[in-house]
C-alpha cells in the first residue's frame, strides 16, 4: 500500500514542478511581450480611426532618417572591419607565440565592461579636443574617433568569439601544417586562419552590429548625426514615429542575433552589456 502512495507522490511533485515552470514562463512572456505589443499597437494608429502603417511611412519619409540610418550602418561596418583587423592577428599570436601576453590582452578586451560609455566619452573629449591631440576638430575627424571607439567597444565580444574559434580549430597544428608546406604568415592568416574562423568572425561581427547600430551615448556627446541621437530626438519631438522606430530597431536586433544563431549552431559564448 505505502509503496504506491510514494510513487504517486513522486509523480504529482513532478507534475507540480511542470505547472510552476509553465506559470513562470507565461508570466515572463507577458512581461516581455507586453511592451512590444503596446508599441506595435501604437505604431499602427498614426491615422485617425484606422489601423495602418502610416507611422512607418512617415518614419522612412523623414529627410533625416535615412541619412542617419545609413551613416550608422557605415560606421558599424567600419568598426567591425577595424575590430577584426586588430583582434584576429592579436588573438592568433597570443595563442601561438606570445602566451605570456594573454592575461594582458584579456584584461584590455574586458575594459569596455569596466569603463561606462559615458565615462569613456568624457575622457575622449578631454583627451582629444585640444592640441596636441586635436582629433575632434571637424565632424569627419570626430566620426573617425567614433568608429574607433565602437571598434574598442566590440573587443569583449569579438575577442571572445575569435578566441573560442581558434581554440576549436587547433591553430597550432594548422599553422605548422601550412608552414611545412612553405606558406608565409600572411598566407597562413588569410588563406588558412580566416576561412576557418568564418563562424566566429561572423557572430562577433553581428553582435557588434547589434550593439553599435543604435548607440546613443558616445554619438550624442560627440555630436554625431547617427541613428542613436536621431531616435532620441524623435522620441521627444514626434508622437507615432517613435513607436515605428522602436519596432524597426527591435526587428534589426532580432535579425542580427537570429543570424548568429543560424551561422553558429551550438556555438556558445555571447554575453551582453554596455547600456
Amino acid at each position: 500500500m505505502t509503496t504506491s502512495v510514494a510513487s504517486v507522490q513522486v509523480k504529482t511533485s513532478a507534475r507540480k514542478q511542470k505547472l510552476w515552470a509553465w506559470v513562470v514562463f507565461v508570466v515572463g512572456a507577458l512581461y516581455f511581450l507586453l511592451p512590444l505589443a503596446a508599441t506595435f499597437y501604437w505604431s499602427l494608429r498614426a491615422e485617425k480611426d484606422k489601423l495602418g502603417f502610416e507611422a512607418y511611412r512617415r518614419l522612412f519619409a523623414d529627410v533625416n532618417f535615412l541619412p542617419a540610418f545609413s551613416e550608422s550602418i557605415v560606421n558599424a561596418l567600419a568598426a567591425i572591419l577595424l575590430s577584426l583587423l586588430l583582434i584576429v592577428p592579436t588573438a592568433y599570436w597570443v595563442t601561438l607565440r606570445l602566451p605570456k601576453l594573454r592575461p594582458v590582452v584579456e584584461f584590455i578586451t574586458l575594459l569596455p565592461f569596466v569603463i561606462p560609455a559615458v565615462v569613456l566619452v568624457f575622457g575622449l573629449i578631454r583627451l582629444y579636443s585640444r592640441p596636441p591631440l586635436l582629433l575632434t576638430a571637424t565632424y569627419d575627424s570626430s566620426r573617425v574617433v567614433l568608429i574607433c571607439v565602437y571598434a574598442a567597444l566590440s573587443f569583449p565580444y569579438v575577442f571572445r568569439s575569435v578566441d573560442n574559434g581558434l581554440r576549436a580549430m587547433d591553430v597550432r597544428a594548422l599553422t605548422e601544417a601550412a608552414q611545412s608546406l612553405g606558406a608565409n604568415w600572411f598566407t597562413i592568416l588569410f588563406r588558412v586562419i580566416f576561412p576557418n574562423l568564418r563562424v566566429a568572425l561572423l557572430s562577433g561581427a553581428l553582435l557588434t552590429f547589434a550593439i553599435v547600430i543604435g548607440e546613443l551615448t558616445i554619438a550624442l556627446f560627440m555630436a554625431q548625426h547617427t541613428l542613436g541621437p536621431y531616435m532620441a530626438n524623435l522620441t521627444r519631438s514626434k508622437v507615432y514615429e517613435p513607436s515605428a522606430m522602436a519596432i524597426v530597431a527591435f526587428a534589426l536586433t532580432w535579425m542580427a542575433l537570429g543570424l548568429i544563431q543560424l551561422v553558429g549552431r551550438g556555438q556558445q559564448g555571447q554575453i551582453t552589456g554596455g547600456h
Binding site: P116, G214, F221, G273
Partner: protein
C-alpha cells in the same frame, strides 16, 4: 601546451647541430599585436588615465585628493545613491526572476523548443536597450501608454496614485527588461552544469527533492548566482542611454550627472566631475573583479 613552441625550436636547433644560433627574437608576432596595444592605449586606456589624472588636480593645478573628498557632497552622493539603489534592485530582482525563467526552461521540464526560443529572445532583449527600449516603455506605461490606459478602464489611474515611468519604480521596470535576459543567458549554463547524477545520488541516499535543492543544488549554484547578480549590478550602474532617452538626461543618476557635467559644468568644479567618473570606474572594476572570482570558483565545481 602554450609554451611548447619555444622549446620546440630550440631542440630543433640542437638536432640541426653545428652553428649554434642565439635564440632568435622574432619581431613578427610583436608587430602583429602592436596595433592592438596602440589602439587600446588611444581609445580605452588613455581617456581613462586622463580622467584619473585630472581628478587628482586641484583648482591650482597641484596634486590633491580634494576632489575625491567632495564625492560625499550632497549632489554627488544622491546621484550615486540613486544609481546604486536602482542597480541593486534590478540586479536582485532581475537575478531572481531570470533564475526562475532559466530554471523553468531547463530543469522545470518545459518542451525543448521553449528553451531555444527563450535563449534567442534573451539575446535580443538583453541587447534591446537604449532609445528603442525607452520608447517602448513610454508607449506602454507612459502617461498615454497602452497599459496605463487599460488600468484607467479598470478604474485605476496609475499616475494619480503615484506611479511614474520617470521615477525609481519606472526605471526599475525598464532596466529589468535587459537585466532579466542577461541573467537567463549567463545562468543557463550553470543550471546545465548541475549533473543529473547529483540529484540521483542524493535521492538514492534517501534525500527528498527539497533536501537536494537545499544541500546541493543551491550551494553549487550560489557562486554563479551571486556572481551574475554582481555583473547585473555593473550592467545597470554604467547604463546611460536608456535613462537618458527616458528622462531627457534630467534624472538624478550618476551616469546622467556625468553627462550633464560634459555638456556644462553643472557641479561648478571640473575636478569633481572627473572624480565622479573615476568613482564609477572603480565601482565597475570591483564588480567585474568579484564576478570573475566567483565565476572561477563555480567553474571549478561545475567542470
Amino acid at each position: 601546451m602554450n609554451s611548447s613552441i619555444g622549446t620546440d625550436t630550440r631542440s630543433n636547433n640542437k638536432i640541426v647541430g653545428g652553428a649554434r644560433r642565439p635564440s632568435r627574437f622574432q619581431i613578427g608576432p610583436w608587430l602583429g599585436v602592436l596595433p592592438f596595444f596602440i589602439f587600446s592605449a588611444m581609445f580605452l586606456i588613455g581617456p581613462t588615465l586622463i580622467l584619473g589624472y585630472r581628478s587628482l588636480e586641484g583648482t591650482d593645478g597641484a596634486l590633491t585628493l580634494d576632489n575625491y573628498r567632495q564625492l560625499t557632497s550632497e549632489s554627488v552622493l544622491s546621484a550615486y545613491g540613486m544609481s546604486i539603489r536602482i542597480s541593486l534592485t534590478t540586479a536582485i530582482l532581475g537575478g531572481l526572476i531570470g533564475f526562475l525563467i532559466a530554471w523553468a526552461v531547463s530543469i522545470g521540464g518545459l518542451p525543448r523548443p521553449f528553451r531555444s526560443l527563450t535563449t534567442t529572445f534573451s539575446g535580443v532583449a538583453s541587447n534591446f536597450a537604449g532609445v528603442p527600449l525607452a520608447a517602448a516603455y513610454i508607449f506602454t506605461l507612459g502617461r498615454v501608454g497602452v497599459v496605463t490606459a487599460l488600468f484607467k478602464l479598470l478604474g485605476v489611474d496609475l499616475y494619480r496614485s503615484g506611479f511614474s515611468l520617470y521615477s525609481f519604480l519606472g526605471l526599475t521596470l525598464v532596466y529589468l527588461y535587459f537585466q532579466i535576459p542577461l541573467m537567463v543567458l549567463v545562468i543557463l549554463p550553470a543550471l546545465d552544469g548541475l549533473k543529473r547524477e547529483w540529484r540521483e545520488a542524493a535521492e538514492n541516499l534517501g534525500a527528498t527533492p527539497n533536501q537536494y535543492w537545499r544541500d546541493i543544488a543551491f550551494p553549487v549554484l550560489t557562486p554563479s548566482i551571486l556572481g551574475t547578480m554582481i555583473l547585473l549590478f555593473g550592467n545597470a550602474f554604467g547604463a546611460h542611454a536608456t535613462a537618458y532617452a527616458l528622462t531627457g538626461g534630467l534624472f538624478n543618476l550618476a551616469t546622467l550627472l556625468i553627462g550633464q557635467q560634459i555638456s556644462g559644468d553643472v557641479l561648478h568644479n571640473p575636478g569633481l566631475g572627473y572624480a565622479v567618473a573615476m568613482g564609477m570606474v572603480v565601482i565597475m572594476a570591483l564588480s567585474i573583479l568579484v564576478y570573475s572570482i566567483l565565476q572561477r570558483r563555480s567553474e571549478r565545481w561545475l567542470r
